[in-house]
């Protein structure tokens, strides 16, 4: 059981958020779910999570705007962020990757156990 790390989950689709949250919770993570970009920025700067899972298409502020806001913060600059998205080929994805997230994972290409394995690698 990993020591309890906190993961901020910024995902507007409640079904996906719940599935991911349940899996991460089962793996011993503390999960903070939020459903829009604005709330995501606020929660990230308030709680300083160990990892941020960030969707791209979000209400209020999109994923790449969240990333930009994080990078302007002293803590946020080195925050670990993984983009989880079902959007490929859009300018916003390339922008977000350019702005320095780890990588982007296409949700349909990754099962929940695979995502957990990936997260554990990033948190090591």
């Amino acid at each position: 059981m990993p020591e309890q790390k906190t993961i901020l989950l910024i995902e507007d689709d409640k079904d996906l958020s719940e599935a991911l949250r349940d899996q991460l919770h089962n793996e011993g993570f503390k999960v903070l779910p939020v459903y829009d970009g604005e709330e995501g920025i606020r929660a990230a700067l308030a709680h300083h999570p160990d990892l941020i899972l960030l969707d791209i298409l979000l209400p209020k502020q999109g994923g790449h705007e969240v990333l930009k806001a994080l990078r302007e913060d002293d803590w946020g600059r080195s925050a670990k962020v993984i983009l989880l998205t079902n959007v490929e080929g859009m300018a916003s994805v390339s922008e977000a990757v350019k702005e320095g997230s780890y990588d982007y994972l296409v949700k349909t290409d990754w099962s929940l156990p695979e995502i957990v394995d990936y997260i554990l690698q990033q948190l090591r």
């Binding site: 349940d22 899996q23 490929e88 349909t108 929940l112």
Partner: protein, 445 residues
């Protein structure tokens, strides 16, 4: 001086020299007779008065001859000058006409034109340029050309240096900012012209607007990306909830149904991916990301992806890979290509068969082969195998699954990577697909 004038002048000078020469020759030839005649006709002067008359006569004759010569020369020069003036007038008239024609063409052209100095100073923008930038001529000549270029999209320092080095540029795409702060895209061309003025050379700039085309391309890309999001989101929901369900206790029957739902959902995910890739290829919006990659990493990842399928089909997966292979290509697209070929090979190989992935690399090229001991491709359908939605009859008989899109998409992706694909097949014995790709990619800066 034009050629005609020079020819005319040469003729006149030539004729004059010839006549003069003939006269001199004649006088020289007849000098004896002339002198005899002269002295037979004229009495030598007997006294001073007669000598004076004689000298006066000589002076008069000589002077007249000289005057005649000078008159002839003056006439020649005046004729030459008049001819030169006539030709100069004609040339000037033609020049003025040509300038007027150019001015009308330049001013009335729907193509934005302007003349730009190496330091970016804009001179004489035409009407279309003023309309394009939403600035009147006075305002447009007060801004620098570099102020019109979107600095977020272009390296302005590099552009300024280029202008200093050369005022020739061919069909470069530029993102521009207009006076009313709108973004426009144009194909920019510039030709160096000699000028009289502060700058000995300036650039004649023309802009072909491609804003509409860029907006359509951007809209197409965003539509496909949004469509991919809309199609994939419910598929992700099913996939992840199935993952959670698999972690609970399921009866044998429930597990059986779970397998069906899961594999159906995975097929749908694969189909959506293929359709999206094909749409991007057909719309020309597929973006290739060239990177130096470790090919073996891509191959191992792909083999992992198909390992379960191979196991389920009872097919052995083999690899013949170099110890190290680095190439410049797009890792994601390459993985799609190899995965598609491997998936096909496994699907169409009977239980107990073998599928082999091999790769060789020389200095310039990469050769990837996927070989199987499967059903092969019948001779009569080999020319259709890369066609959209085509499935060979024996493939349809062996497996109900398959969209007929895989090889079509694979070829398009291989071509996008600068390569080619071919195959060799024997019915009932197996098929080898060979993909040849350049190992390096030269992209222009």
């Amino acid at each position: 001086m034009d050629g005609e004038y020079r020819a005319s002048l040469a003729k006149r000078i030539g004729a004059s020299v010839l006549v003069l020469g003939m006269l001199v020759a004649l006088i020289y030839a007849l000098r004896g007779y002339a002198l005899d005649f002269f002295f037979s006709q004229i009495q030598p002067p007997q006294n001073e008065a007669e000598l004076r008359d004689f000298v006066a006569s000589v002076i008069l004759v000589g002077g007249s001859a000289l005057a005649f010569l000078l008159a002839a020369l003056l006439y020649l020069s005046l004729t030459v000058k008049a001819r030169a003036v006539a030709i100069a007038r004609r040339m000037n008239k033609e020049l003025l006409l040509s300038r007027e024609q150019f001015r009308i063409l330049y001013d009335s052209s729907p193509v934005p034109y302007m003349i730009v100095a190496p330091d970016g100073t804009i001179v004489n923008p035409n009407k279309a340029a003023c309309e394009y930038f939403g600035l009147d001529q006075r305002k447009l000549t007060q801004v620098s050309f570099f102020d019109l270029v979107d600095e977020a999209e272009h390296d302005l320092i590099g552009l300024k240096e280029r202008f200093q080095r050369s005022l020739d540029a061919r069909q470069q795409e530029l993102t521009l900012q207009t006076g009313d702060e709108k973004t426009r895209w144009a194909l920019f061309s510039m030709h160096e012209i000699a000028t009289a003025g502060a700058y000995p050379h300036m650039g004649l700039v023309s802009l072909v607007d491609i804003t509409e085309q860029k907006r359509i391309d951007k809209a197409k890309t965003e539509f496909i990306s949004l469509a991919s999001h809309q199609l994939r989101t419910p598929l992700s929901t099913v996939k992840w909830n199935l993952d959670l369900l698999a972690q609970t206790e399921l009866s044998e029957k429930q597990r059986h149904y779970w397998d069906k739902i899961y594999s159906g959902n995975e097929r749908m995910i694969g189909l959506v991916k293929k359709l999206l890739n094909i749409s991007r290829i057909q719309l020309g919006t597929l973006a290739v990301e060239w990177q130096k990659i470790d090919l073996n990493e891509v191959f191992e990842r792909t083999l992992d992806e198909v390992a379960v399928q191979a196991q389920q089909h009872g097919v052995q997966l083999k690899r013949e890979l170099p110890e190290q292979a680095i190439a410049t290509t797009d890792a994601k697209l390459l993985q799609i290509v190899v995965e598609n070929l491997l998936t096909n090979a496994i699907r169409y190989t009977p239980e107990g068969g073998t599928v082999t992935l091999s790769c060789t690399r020389d200095r310039a090229n990469l050769t990837i082969r996927v070989s199987d001991t499967g059903i092969g491709i019948p001779k009569d359908v080999r020319d259709k195998i890369f066609s959209k939605l085509f499935r060979a009859p024996n493939a349809r008989d062996m497996s109900a699954h398959g969209t007929g899109l895989g090889l079509y998409m694979t070829r398009q992706l291989v071509e996008a990577l600068g390569g080619s694909i071919s195959f060799d097949s024997r019915e009932h014995a197996g098929t080898t697909f060979t993909v040849s790709l350049p190992a390096q990619h030269n992209s222009s800066a």
